[in-house]
């Protein structure tokens, strides 16, 4: 979809890119030229970052919310004159959460649009297929910054060196969930996972976490990635119910998780159901609330959602306060024609994550050479972030050996239809 229509920003960028290339040449030959340009006071070309995410299909909420969070901060920064006098722009393309379009989008972004870096990709199956391209583009110094996925593949060799992660991994999320459930006396844990790299990654995380307690998975069930909210999760519910789980951890997208929760509750499965950050708790709860029939049961009870960012209700955190303020003011929907219709949430954990991505991105750009930033300057700038205060209460650290900045896991649950932070696990203790 994005490849069919040329974005206005892209056209602008091509002109800007040629100017920038010329400037790079000049740098090689005449080292003084950048200063001369800056001194000339001409407007600096904007830095464009390419983003491939689902803006269509059942998981478009993830991409759109992520994009809204990013644009909320970047619009704010650009309005203030940008960073080092440069605007930071995002070129979003839609992959519909499918690997093939994601690969095509990446090639286009690097080869045709010549973006400065890849930024805020969404999804494990898509990102894990894009990783080999980064290897292929290593001479062009292409980096992927802060994708919305917690899989292992891009945190480890061989591809880990091209990727910088802001968020905690699924292993960490699932480990935290398992720890809490086991501590609460629930040892029969079952997993519902999406039958792809993402789901398998979460499944692996749960399994490994259980191994540390000498426990095994009580049950597991997979579902196809294409499943939306209207899918029937009866077979999965039956398989899991047969294992008599004391808690179920779902590794899936929000629409599928919501459908599973609905069918599980309808089938009388009362065990707590947990989901990870990628399951976009806000959209999931929204679907569950909509699905509730008058007089029917409340699907939002006994849910735990692990998050990799703090609750957006926690306005004591400066970053959250800023987020809420800027979201109301600057959050943008994806460009016309890119996304399918979607009713955005005012605040959500996904948009907060996108927002934090943008904050770190702006800081990275700030730490790069002001006059003539190059792609190969990115790793140094990112890895220079030490004990950086993002405004979320925990410091942020990157290094050449550490490509993941945050490790904290937060929990939320639903009270009266609203996601609230979960700190007290006593009510989840097994009987």
């Amino acid at each position: 979809m994005g490849s069919g229509k040329r974005q206005p920003a892209a056209g602008l960028f091509r002109v800007a890119a040629s100017v920038r290339l010329a400037a790079a040449l000049c740098l090689c030959l005449l080292t003084l030229l950048p200063n001369a340009l800056a001194a000339a006071g001409e407007p600096q070309a904007p830095l464009v970052f390419g983003m491939s995410a689902p803006f269509t299909g059942p998981n478009r909420g993830l991409g759109i919310e992520y994009y809204r969070g990013i644009t909320a901060y970047l619009s704010h920064v650009n309005e203030q004159g940008g960073v080092n006098g440069r605007r930071i722009e995002i070129l979003p393309l839609d992959d519909g959460y499918n690997p093939e379009p994601a690969v095509r989008n990446t090639i286009r972004l690097v080869r045709e649009d010549k973006v400065f870096a890849l930024f805020s990709y969404v999804g494990t199956p898509t990102v894990s297929r894009v990783l080999p391209l980064l290897e292929r583009f290593q001479d062009e110094h292409v980096t992927l910054l802060f994708p919305l996925t917690g899989a292992r593949l891009h945190r480890e060799p061989p591809y880990g060196r091209y990727v910088y992660n802001l968020r905690a991994s699924y292993f960490e999320e699932t480990r935290a969930l398992v720890e809490h459930f086991v501590a609460a006396g629930r040892t029969r844990l079952a997993v519902l996972f999406q039958e792809d790299a993402y789901g398998r990654s979460g499944w692996d995380g749960v399994r490994r976490a259980l191994t540390t307690y000498n426990l095994e998975l009580a049950g597991e069930a997979a579902y196809a990635r294409s499943a939306g909210f209207d899918a029937d999760f009866g077979p999965q519910v039956r398989v899991l119910a047969a294992s008599k789980p004391e808690a179920i951890i779902t590794i899936g997208t929000y629409a599928a998780c919501a459908a599973f929760i609905r069918d599980a509750r309808d089938a009388g499965l009362t065990a707590p159901i947990a989901c990870v950050s990628f399951s976009d708790a806000d959209n999931m709860v929204k679907l569950l609330l909509q699905a509730r029939r008058p007089g029917g049961q409340d699907y939002t009870v006994r849910l735990v959602c692990s998050q990799v960012v703090p609750s957006y209700q926690d306005v004591a955190l400066p970053a959250v306060a800023l987020y809420r303020r800027l979201m109301d003011r600057y959050a943008q929907m994806p460009p016309e024609g890119l996304a399918e219709p979607y009713a955005p949430n005012r605040y959500s954990s996904v948009s907060l994550e996108g927002f934090l991505n943008a904050v770190v991105l702006a800081e990275v750009v700030r730490r790069m050479p002001a006059a003539n930033p190059r792609r190969q300057d990115i790793p140094a700038a990112v890895e220079s972030l030490k004990d950086f205060d993002l405004g979320i209460g925990v410091p942020l650290n990157f290094s050449s050996g550490q490509h993941q900045a945050l490790n904290s896991i937060y929990f939320t649950t639903v009270r009266g239809g609203v996601l609230v932070p979960l700190t007290d696990w006593t009510e989840w203790s097994g009987s």
Partner: protein
């Protein structure tokens, strides 16, 4: 048909052969093809699966060894896109599944293979192929590869056998379509070939068939040079030879046959046309030959006669005459004889038979000609008969003529007698006509008198019939008062033919109007046309007058001549009807009751009462308008229906005027009497369906007016209705309470102030309603009085109290404390209108054994006022029984000190309202003081009621009151408590 069948048989054989052949070919080829494809595809799938497994083994071995499930999953997901791949499972060395592509879980059959692979860890490096069939019916080619000799785990790839089968199905289908095409082409060729061979053969067969049937007319046109052609030609020449021989033979036979035929037919014609029957017999008497005439004679047409024995036909006798005797002829010549023969159907016929012998096949037979001579004999007989009949007819005619002559003479005599009788009857009926009391007339259909009798003349006021006929020659109708009445009469008569009791008013000659009743009937002529109308007239004026008088009496009050309740309800109903039809139509209902009628009636007598009612009726009629209805409902109750009101205030204005008029004095038998009325009004009459309800509500409003102080009017409203409902409901409940003895008694002690001892009790009635809780006596006692329940209640109370008090007493009539014990009992004023009270009191005293002096009956002041006439009598009777009498609530009513003197009173009770006010009001203090000192000075016991505060007690003691009751001392208590109090000697008051 024959050709088609023959040809298709040949072709069918070919077709069957071809179907079998092609079927075998198709089956064999399908199997072979299927097998080849299966082998190919299976091999291809196996190699594909093997390649994939190797690919996994080589490229992802590291991920598998490290247990990186996500990476492995990412890889195997892509394999699902490869054609034929159904699933991929990657397991570790211990059989633990690292990743798979199943949704939602691995089928147990597949899992078994995975586990099996782990169980044989050092299996072959090259892939093993197993067919797996899952529970849901899918079949897979399961290709398993060990990694690193099983140490690295295993890769399992499932190829969809269903796809292979699909390919095979498709290929077999294609092959079969080709076979079918070939089959159709071959069939067509075979058909053409068979047709080419079989057509000449068929034709040859047909030709042979024709020759066999001696049909040589056609030639064959087969000219082919093959064997079939030669055969055809040989057959053609053979057929021609045969044809010549046959035609020669046939010609010779035909000639001989024609000669014989000629001779035979001429003989046959003679025999057939002979009139006589021909009968040829052989020597044994059997019929050899006969002709149709003989068969006709014996009525045996169409039956077989030849060969029958002749005696069956002619009878034995005749047969003997004509049968040849022996070998010689019977008679030398021929003979003729006449005889009667019997036919087989039973009839007989005379015949003439001529017989001649004939030689027949060497024997002597006979030839007989039989002639029917019936006709000849019959004509001779008919001539004779005709002569006899003529003679007989002449004789009969002569006899008839003489009989008619006698009949005529008798009829002439009878006519004379009838004429005489008619004359007598006519004069009899004329006399009836002339002297009848009823008028009798005949009029023409156009209304003119034809005749009339003197009675009719009298009824119409004429001295004789002639005058009547003369004056009314223009028509009988001029006398009728109502213009169209006469026309109506005529129309009815002509239409129905009869009229009975047709009542109308007519004007007599003098001008006076009288009622007549007519009966008439139409007399038509023989053709049904109206001839005249005859009728009778009766003067029914008297009857009519009586009727209207009765009618008036039925609907009017005889005393005031006002409409009565029935008529009023009728008018009310009509008013309600009008209201329904016209939205704007307003009417109101006034219900009126005289306030002091009883007093006047009792004091001035019934005549004066009647006079008052008449005067009130006049007043009301005067106040009402022309269209209003004023009615008396009996007693002193009146109702007024105000119709066609412009506004509701008109009704109020009229009510006000009535009250004003009623306030004026009435003069009755010389006395001036004052009366007043209370009026209940219903203004909003539109919401009512039934007149009775409307009246009821007016009545309710009237009672409300009376309650509020008489001589006023009250307009009915919703609240009154609800109140009335509540009262009604309460009354029902009260009735039930009385029946089920739910009313109970409590006893309030009366204290002697000087020593504070309980000397008496007042028995009080209590009612606790199941729904509304306790009901105040002031509410339910009036209700009981209105409903007549007061009698059973009071009698019950009387007996009960007497028994109770007696039970409390010692033998000497004192209380357990040694004091004399009194009991006070309230008696409703209603008893003064009922003569039973005295008897009941006496019975209660006798039954219980209570000394009469211990019983004090309390009577309200109003009871005396309302029943002045009877009170004296009843009170003195009670007094004579020995009971005490007490005036209750003294000072509240029309207190008349005279009562104290006139009636034998022993006790007065100072009303609680005075006691309550003594603390605050100097005037009340004075009144209470004077009542008490008056009582004391008259020697009466004075009891103060409702003493509640020490200050009241102090005041009462100070002014000399000796007895008191009230909450200050004791509340009313249950029977058992009162008894215990007496027994315990706790007769002291609880306070000072």
């Amino acid at each position: 048909m024959e050709r088609v069948v023959r040809r298709s048989r040949l072709f069918r054989k070919t077709l069957v052969f071809m179907i079998l052949a092609f079927g075998v070919i198709a089956t064999v080829m399908s199997l072979a093809f299927g097998q080849i494809i299966r082998r190919h595809l299976t091999e291809e799938y196996r190699s594909k699966a093997t390649a994939l497994a190797r690919s996994v083994a080589e490229s992802d071995l590291l991920s598998i060894l490290r247990g990186d499930a996500s990476a492995v999953q990412s890889r195997i997901d892509q394999y699902l896109g490869i054609e034929g791949v159904a699933y991929v499972v990657v397991a570790r060395e211990n059989g633990e599944v690292l990743a798979h592509t199943f949704v939602p879980e691995i089928p147990p059959e597949v899992l078994k293979q995975v586990r099996a692979a782990a169980a044989t860890p050092h299996g072959p490096q090259h892939p093993a192929v197993i067919d797996v069939r899952t529970a849901d019916g899918r079949e897979y080619m399961h290709v398993m590869t060990h990694l690193l000799e099983g140490l690295g785990g295993s890769v399992h790839i499932g190829m969809d056998n269903g796809a292979i089968r699909g390919f095979i199905r498709q290929a077999v289908l294609q092959q079969q379509i080709i076979t079918l095409g070939l089959f159709l082409v071959c069939t067509l060729v075979a058909f053409l070939f068979v047709r080419n061979i079989s057509r000449p053969l068929t034709r040859l067969t047909e030709y042979a068939g024709r020759v066999a049937a001696h049909d040589f007319s056609t030639e064959m046109d087969i000219s082919s040079k093959d064997e079939v052609g030669d055969l055809a030609r040989a057959m053609g020449s053979m057929a021609r030879d045969v044809s010549g021989l046959i035609s020669g033979l046939e010609a010779a036979v035909a000639n001989a046959t024609a000669d014989l035929q000629e001779a035979l037919s001429s003989l046959q014609a003679v025999l057939h046309n002979m009139a006589g029957g021909l009968l040829v017999l052989d020597a044994r008497g059997r019929v050899v030959r006969h002709n149709p005439a003989l068969a006709r004679l014996f009525r045996l047409e169409g039956e077989e006669i030849d060969g029958r024995a002749v005696d069956e036909l002619l009878g034995r006798e005749t047969t003997a005459l004509i049968l040849p005797q022996g070998s010689a002829p019977l008679h030398s010549g021929s003979g003729v004889l006449e005889t009667v023969i019997q036919r087989p159907d039973g009839t007989s016929v005379p015949v003439e038979i001529s017989v001649a012998p004939v030689a027949l096949k060497g024997q002597w037979g006979t030839v007989s000609i039989v002639r029917d001579i019936t006709e000849r004999r019959r004509s001779a007989e008919a001539l004779h008969q005709a002569h006899d009949e003529l003679e007989q007819m002449v004789e009969e005619r002569t006899r008839e003529l003489s009989r008619a002559n006698i009949q005529l003479k008798i009829e002439v005599a009878e006519r004379k007698v009838v004429a005489e009788a008619l004359r007598k009857a006519e004069s009899k009926y004329r006399s009836i006509f002339e002297n009848a009391l009823e008028g009798i007339y005949q009029i023409s259909p156009d209304g003119h008198y034809i005749s009339a009798n003197p009675a009719l003349a009298r009824i119409l006021g004429y001295s004789n019939v002639e005058d009547l006929l003369t004056e009314l020659k223009d028509g009988a109708g001029t006398r009728y008062v109502e213009p169209g009445r006469w026309a109506e009469f005529l129309a009815l008569a002509l239409e129905h033919g009869e009229i009975t009791d047709f009542e109308s008013r007519i004007r007599r000659r003098s001008g006076r109007v009288v009622w007549i009743s007519e009966n008439a009937r139409l007399v038509p002529d023989s053709r049904g046309k109206p001839l005249y109308i005859e009728g009778t007239v009766e003067d029914i004026t008297l009857r009519k007058e009586y009727e209207s008088q009765l009618l008036h009496q039925a609907f009017h009050d005889p005393l005031t001549a006002l409409p009565n309740r029935a008529l009023f309800l009728d008018h009310l109903k009509m008013a309600m009807e009008r209201r329904r039809r016209h939205e704007k139509y307003l009417f109101a209902l006034l219900y009126l009751d005289l306030d002091r009628f009883k007093v006047i009636n009792d004091s001035l007598g019934h005549d004066a009462g009647d006079e008052l009612l008449r005067a009130v009726a006049r007043t009301l009629t005067g106040c009402a308008r022309g269209m209003d209805t004023v009615a008396r409902f009996g007693g002193d109750e009146f109702a007024i229906l105000l119709e066609e009101l412009a506004a509701p205030r008109d009704a109020i204005r009229i009510a006000r005027r009535i009250l004003e008029e009623m306030a004026r004095p009435f003069v009755l038998h010389g006395h001036e009497a004052f009366s007043s009325a209370s009026i209940g009004i219903v203004l909003h009459t539109e919401s009512y369906d039934r007149p009775e309800t409307l009246l009821r509500d007016a009545d309710t409003a009237m009672y409300r007016a009376k309650e509020q102080g008489k001589s006023r009017f009250k307009v009915f409203n919703r609240k009154m209705h609800e109140q009335a409902l509540r009262v009604m409901e309460l009354e029902t409940d009260l009735r039930r309470a009385v029946e089920s003895h739910d009313l109970r008694l409590v006893y309030q002690p009366i204290v002697r102030l000087e020593d504070r001892k309980v000397v008496a009790f007042e028995a009080l009635l209590r009612w606790t309603h199941a729904l509304h809780g306790p009901v105040n006596p002031s509410e339910f006692i009036p209700l009981a009085e209105d409903a007549g329940l007061i009698y059973p209640i009071d009698y019950g109370v009387l007996h009960k109290v007497c028994r109770t008090i007696r039970a409390w007493m010692n033998g000497d009539g004192t209380s357990p404390g040694g004091q004399p014990l009194h009991v006070h009992l309230n008696v409703s004023g209603k008893h003064f209108r009922n003569p039973l009270l005295v008897g009941e009191v006496e019975a209660a005293l006798l039954d219980s054994g209570l000394p009469p002096s211990c019983l004090t009956l309390e009577i309200t002041e109003n009871a005396f006022v309302d029943n002045a006439a009877t009170a004296t009598d009843i009170l003195s009777k009670l007094k004579m029984l020995g009971v005490n009498l007490c005036i209750d609530d003294f000072g509240t009513g029309y207190s008349s000190l005279g009562y104290l003197q006139r009636y034998p009173i022993d006790v007065i009770k100072v009303d609680r309202s005075f006691v309550a006010a003594v603390g605050s009001d100097a005037d009340t203090q004075a009144i209470a003081g004077s009542i008490i000192s008056l009582g004391n000075s008259l020697g009466l016991k004075v009891v103060a009621e409702g003493v509640e505060t020490p200050s009241q007690l102090e005041f009462l003691t100070r002014i000399g009151c000796r007895y008191a009751q009230g909450f200050l001392f004791h509340r009313p208590m249950e029977e058992e408590d009162a008894r215990l109090m007496l027994l315990g000697g706790a007769c002291r008051t609880k306070s000072n």
